[in-house]
């Protein structure tokens, strides 16, 4: 895993891992964990930029209340990465800026 990551694992059950693509890079995650957790150990520090000032943001609460973890997951923008379970072959991308990407949601 990238040396520059913000989080690292301290213990790890060998069973149950999945592979997913984050910003074009294949990474390994523990089955049953959230996309946000998986992304935090990649070295990516900013998981979205804001629509207003394009400031970088990252998961803040990890429990679904702050909506800072919005990412593009399997092509769907504005998805809460902390509430989404990792799945084999998932494609995850940083959500960049403008509100216009929210076209899918109401």
């Amino acid at each position: 895993m990238a040396v520059d990551s913000s989080y690292k694992r301290v213990s790890h059950q060998p069973a149950g891992t999945v592979q997913l693509m984050v910003e074009g890079q294949m990474i390994e995650a523990i089955a049953g964990e959230s996309v946000a957790a998986a992304v935090l150990q990649t070295g990516i520090r900013q998981t979205r930029t804001t629509p207003v000032s394009e400031a970088g943001r990252a998961p803040y609460c990890m429990m679904g209340v702050c909506f800072e973890c919005l990412m593009e997951i399997d092509g769907v923008p504005n998805t809460q990465a902390c509430m989404t379970e990792v799945r084999e072959g998932m494609v995850v991308n940083i959500q960049r800026g403008s509100r216009s990407v929210s076209g899918e949601s109401v």
């Binding site: 913000s6 989080y7 694992r9 957790a37 520090r45 998981t47 702050c66 909506f67 919005l70």
Partner: protein
């Protein structure tokens, strides 16, 4: 009458209150549906219970593994349970809509139990939006679900039981902590002291607190006390690089990569508010709570609330309340209910468990700086509105939180005010010199989570096909 499936009791939330309620209700023979937003049951306190990749049980400690008993009860209970399910609308005809796996469903209920738990108190300070700043709760979730710990340098700031607990858990996991910054105002000790006698009934909690402090001392972590204000600063890329600690006249800069902050927890009232349940302001816990009868019945006769979403009491209180409220619901639906001595025993335990609260609430009341932050602080994270902008709105004729939405879009972003609601009310009250209850809170509307078109479309086809 449509063919929508009906349940005697629908429980929202699978934390301690929800898990205990589910067990009690199914034992009483109720037809129960449990809906939980998270990937696995446990709520936040017992997050990933039964599945945590942490192998050394001393890291998370025995209080965490107390959840195993609840999980076992839940697993053997006869009920329908859906994880990853978000309730986004409750209708007047006692039906509700939820989405799970990208699709929506609608079900009916006789009784609805909201056991939606707590969220960490939004406690803004300059720089709290920077990547690298997280809540203590978030770090604990990463530890429980993923056995992940912050790469240093790490600073932890704030106050409350979770502030001490996460520090201990990370230390036990081998993490080095650069500094612990405690923000308890000195005056709190004086205010809390008279509550200590009552708190002695909850002496186990006091001992736990003392043990955690001793543990932290053993690791020789630099511990700053009575800090008035913190500020997070960014590097050239916009990521957290240091925290500035304001200590009376003194300032100290501590370089860090991760800053965990915490100022206690408040009830998660989003769903109850969207339903339109009555809420009141609790001046001691500094939060809004649903107005409830002793049986946990809200201002809507068929909607009950238990656990931290009813008012902060912690995991054990939530578990007892869950049982009592489910029992009351079962009796109101014509079931026998639990034997009277059992009910009386639970009530007695409840009062004993609550004895510590007045002391904790007063000791850990957040410092002013986190309730009514300095002007430059972003308070609405979604729409990037500062405390100064909110204060300035009063002069323009904006007196309540719902007007601020129109003036500056605060509270209109994706989180629907979950992160700014309490602060915006506090700021408007401050400028107008009014009590917070007079200023009120945002009106929350359904759906309480942004929905995709797919989720809405699937609901339409579902109802058409069933109606």
């Amino acid at each position: 009458m449509s063919a929508i499936e009906r349940f005697d009791l629908v429980i929202v939330g699978a934390g301690p209150a929800g898990m205990a309620a589910a067990d009690t209700a199914s034992q009483q023979g109720l037809k129960v549906l449990m809906l939980d937003e998270q990937i696995r049951p446990g709520g936040q306190i017992y997050r990933s219970i039964g599945h945590t990749p942490i192998q050394d049980r001393s890291v998370l400690g025995p209080d965490y593994y107390a959840g195993e008993k609840l999980l076992a009860g839940l697993n053997q209970a006869s009920l329908e349970r859906l994880q990853g399910a978000t309730v986004w609308e409750v209708r007047e005809d006692n039906t509700l809509c939820f989405s799970v796996g990208g699709e929506s469903r609608r079900v009916g209920f006789d009784k609805l139990l909201l056991a939606t738990g707590a969220q960490e108190r939004p406690a803004p300070f300059p720089g709290w939006t920077l990547p690298g700043v997280m809540t203590c709760g978030a770090a604990q979730i990463l530890l429980k679900t993923s056995s992940m710990v912050p790469n240093g340098p790490l600073v932890i700031a704030g106050s409350g039981p979770l502030f001490l607990l996460i520090a201990c858990q990370l230390l036990r996991a081998g993490v080095e902590i650069e500094a612990l910054i405690e923000t308890i105002p000195r005056a709190n000790y004086r205010v809390a002291l008279p509550e200590l006698a009552g708190a002695l009934r909850g002496w186990r909690y006091l001992i736990k607190g003392a043990k955690m402090l001793a543990e932290i001392r053993r690791y020789k972590v630099p511990f700053y006390k009575g800090v008035d204000q913190i500020r997070a600063e960014a590097d050239s890329e916009g990521n957290l690089s240091e925290v500035i600690v304001q200590h009376g006249q003194e300032q100290q800069r501590i370089p860090c990569r991760t800053l965990l902050s915490h100022q206690g927890v408040i009830p998660n009232t989003q769903l109850g508010r969207a339903i339109g349940l009555e809420h009141s302001w609790d001046e001691v816990q500094l939060c809004w709570k649903p107005v409830l009868s002793e049986q946990g019945v809200s201002s809507h006769p068929d909607i009950l609330v238990a656990g931290d979403s009813a008012g902060i009491g912690g995991a054990v209180v939530a578990e007892i309340q869950g049982q009592l409220v489910a029992d009351a619901a079962a009796r109101s639906l014509g079931k026998a209910g639990m034997p009277e001595p059992q009910r009386a025993g639970l009530k007695q335990q409840l009062s004993q468990q609550l004895a510590i609260r007045p002391f904790l609430d007063k000791l850990y009341r957040p410092a002013e700086a986190f309730i009514r932050p300095v002007d430059e602080t972003v308070v609405c994270r979604c729409e990037e509105i500062t405390a100064g902008e909110i204060r300035g709105l009063v002069e323009l004729g904006c007196s309540g939180p719902n007007q601020t939405k129109a003036f500056c879009r605060s509270g209109m972003g994706a989180c629907q005010g979950r992160q700014c609601g309490t602060t915006v009310s506090a700021l408007l009250a401050e400028v107008q010199e009014k009590p917070i209850p007079d200023v009120g809170y945002y009106n929350i509307r359904m759906p309480i989570k942004p929905l995709t078109l797919g989720e809405l479309a699937s609901l339409n086809s579902y109802t058409e096909q069933r109606d």
